[in-house]
Subunit: 282 residues, 2 copies
């Protein structure tokens, strides 16, 4: 029932790396999406050892990107940091590095320019990703984050960019929270066949919480109709992990084991059934 | 310089109808976008008389729509109310009725169903609009409002719907606040040639204010690059009014004449030049 479930560790924001790894193991969650901040705090080799001891997979490393700056020095630093992130992902055995590409630089209104710099950065990083065997996973973020987080706003736009690179090196992330509203979403998910690097799941709450960065809900607490989206992703042939990534201060304030129990429960209730319909292995 | 400027009266939220009309006249603003709530409070014939005495045009009536309900009775009431709004727009001499189509009904997750009901409602209202000589102006709202305000989220989607109706009866509103982020916006504006019923302008603030319904800024206070959008709209041949519609509590708290002076100033600074480039009449 939970063979494809991955806990993105930001869902249990206040757990340390070992707490998150052990928590997944206790709950029978087979995979974890790892963030770089707790990775740095606990150390890469310690993390890797603990992940292996717990018998987990690493479903993704979060996150690279933030390369829309037009300042040459800052840009070089961003690319160097992304290369380090690619190496970390490879050492962890993660299939992909999730990219939040960055918003408009401060004082800059040139959106097409910022978008061009994303393409340029991917072109520079792709050989390094190829050598490391890592897929750069472009994440279109909801358009409300376009100015300050990610100038890639739709799956169509992410695919337009990704398609000029080899499918092994540049993919896309389908995240229900970011794409549910898109009138073209089913067509674009079908088009993404073979390019889906990660499938992430959380719900859209109504009303939208005042802190937009912490606005996500557990599946079932909001208005997203998950079964059609899950079926569409399954129909592309995607059989990878399904990551639960929920940024929500109220959720974070609960004990980690309670959060994980809710994640498992909502995953089985809202996601598994729709996914199994299309997945002959289940 | 301000021949095409229209003050959407919600920009001076705390002014009554006669205050807004007189305020436009004092500031040399030739057109006003009227809202139904103050229209009802002041009365239609009193409003019409005052608008004529002030020598103003009515650029739009705001707003109809809100017809995504699946309850038959509520739906009949919504359609009846929209017919009344069409009649009011005609009596005011407004070219169009702005439609905010409505979000998902409470407890409903069927987004495609809600979107179908929008198309159905337009089909029911179109003969009435034709008889009244009013264009129903579909307003795509920013995707962050999809769940609770408007299930029409992009210009492409609005045009897909509008194009099955006569161009005189169903048009679209291009509002910079709602469409600036769209990677496809220039293509879709070009496609909208002949269908642009209204062009509305306000800015996207960073960070996004916590009340999403009051998140708009005066042109220049945010990150929207207005000249390319203005040129694109002008290039379609649109020569109608340019409405300034800003929902912002801090702005509203200022005296009305101050708000209007800022609107005129920012319009001349950020909008006029870009529009004149394409407009041989200017």
């Amino acid at each position: 029932m939970r063979a494809r479930l991955s806990l993105n560790q930001w869902t249990t924001r206040h757990w340390t790396m070992p707490e998150a790894i052990d928590g997944c193991a206790r709950a029978g969650i087979p995979a974890i999406g790892i963030w770089r901040e707790p990775l740095q705090a606990f150390g890469l080799s310690a993390t890797l050892r603990r992940v292996r001891d717990a018998g987990l997979r690493v479903s993704s490393l979060c996150r690279g990107g933030f390369f829309t700056t037009s300042d040459p020095l800052a840009r070089r630093e961003a690319l160097a940091d992304n290369r380090r992130a690619i190496d970390e992902a490879a050492q962890l055995g993660a299939p992909c590095l999730a990219l939040v590409v960055g918003g408009l630089p401060a004082g800059d209104r040139d959106l097409p320019g910022a978008r061009r710099r994303v393409v340029d950065a991917l072109a520079e990083l792709e050989p390094h990703a190829a050598a490391a065997g890592i897929c750069l996973a472009l994440e279109p973020l909801h358009p409300m984050y376009c100015a300050d987080r990610a100038v890639i706003s739709t799956l169509a736009q992410a695919l337009d960019i990704a398609e000029s690179f080899p499918v092994e090196q540049v993919g896309v992330i389908v995240d229900t929270f970011h794409v549910w509203w898109d009138p073209d979403v089913f067509h674009q998910i079908a088009r993404a066949a073979g390019r889906i690097a990660s499938f992430q799941v959380s719900d859209w709450l109504v009303p939208v919480p005042s802190d937009l960065l912490l606005a996500r809900g557990l599946m079932g607490d909001g208005i997203i109709d998950f079964p059609p989206l899950c079926r569409a992703v399954s129909a592309t042939g995607y059989r990878g992990d399904i990551e639960i990534e929920i940024f929500n201060a109220a959720l974070w304030s609960r004990p980690g084991d309670e959060i994980v129990a809710s994640v498992v429960n909502r995953f089985e209730q809202h996601i598994v059934k729709a996914t199994e319909d299309e997945d002959p292995r289940s």
